[in-house]
Symmetry: C2
Amino acid sequence: MKCISESTEERIKEAAKNVFLEKGFDGTTTRDIAKAAGINSALMNYYFRSKEKLFQTIFDDMCGLMFEGMLELLNQPISLREKISKLMDHQFQMMMKNPNLTIFVMNELHRNPERLFATVGMAKQLTESKFDKEIENAIVQGTIPAIESHHILTMIIANIQFLFVSKPMTMLSRGLDEAGFKAFATRHMEYVKDMLCDYLFKPEHST
Amino acid sequence: MKCISESTEERIKEAAKNVFLEKGFDGTTTRDIAKAAGINSALMNYYFRSKEKLFQTIFDDMCGLMFEGMLELLNQPISLREKISKLMDHQFQMMMKNPNLTIFVMNELHRNPERLFATVGMAKQLTESKFDKEIENAIVQGTIPAIESHHILTMIIANIQFLFVSKPMTMLSRGLDEAGFKAFATRHMEYVKDMLCDYLFKPEHST
DNA sequence: TATAATTTTAATCAAGTGATTAAACATTTT
DNA sequence: AAAATGTTTAATCACTTGATTAAAATTATA
């Protein structure tokens, strides 16, 4: 075992992640992955049995990454307002680091919904968190309008993740480069945060 | 030529549309299309030269469908508030009829951005419409907060289309059937419309 | 009806696919 | 060092892929 490069298994996983994220399951060949990992193509089968099994490993990882940190945030003992703000910042940072995570997960799920094993539990946990109860309480107290937590979470996620789902179209149609897109997305985030907070914590509802 | 079934070319296009929308370019084989169209697989090449050319035809159609009617709405002589409301209703209806249109277009664009020929002009037109000037005017008059039209359009589109991009995940994680999803989406639309209108036409800005 | 043009078919091609094999190489254990 | 185990390789398999071909079937034209 060398200290410079990680284990072969990890190298394959890393390469597979990159290629799958870029080309999707159907667009990826096992030879693509082998080439990206710099290994003999038979090694992929040695470590992961099949392309499908390797993919499922990566897919589960990506689903995890998508909601990583979110659950902890939802259960933090901070105010609802701060929680939502932090939630959006966290999502945005995560998507900036993994711009094509959403399009990958959503597309593979569309192609083959049965693949969603590891995530279905994770997604359910989101609606069984402290956040969920805090929303209910806030509604009873009249702090926010009557709207289930799932709709609020959908608003948060949609307004952030769609930015990255439509990134190629935005860049092409508006002639932006990476820096231009980042500027656009960053500004958009401010608007979206304002919009959501205004909607939830509007004057007639607060205190 | 028969009156019952359309021309062979149209049958191929229709079949290709369905298969491509379901499986994407990489996941679709020419034999899939031939089978769906009930034709010999060589006919696809006779009419469209190649899988790539056929795909580009379908892809352009789908891009058009995505923004169909939107441009006309943007240029209608109605109030900004009504325009935005109608815009959202129109988008929602369109997505209900074509639930996997967005994931298809966005994914293929992600895979191969060069494919965006027909649409880039269309997307640009969106920001050169009457709507664009109306927004500018409304900002000057203080009717709405200072926010470029592209951000507003992004908000509208994101909040609607992401519902359908994430449809499989929503249905799976919340255990919804088609009817359940429709109910969820319809309700969500009401919230989103409220949120956006509240944000744009909030008290301190109106009249 | 005979001829030409168009449309459709079955058969086939070369290239690429996921996966397996048996042998080579490397490392650990005895 | 020798044997045993674990890792990597090149070669290859059976199959699918997009596309082409030449012939057949259909339709239009003269």
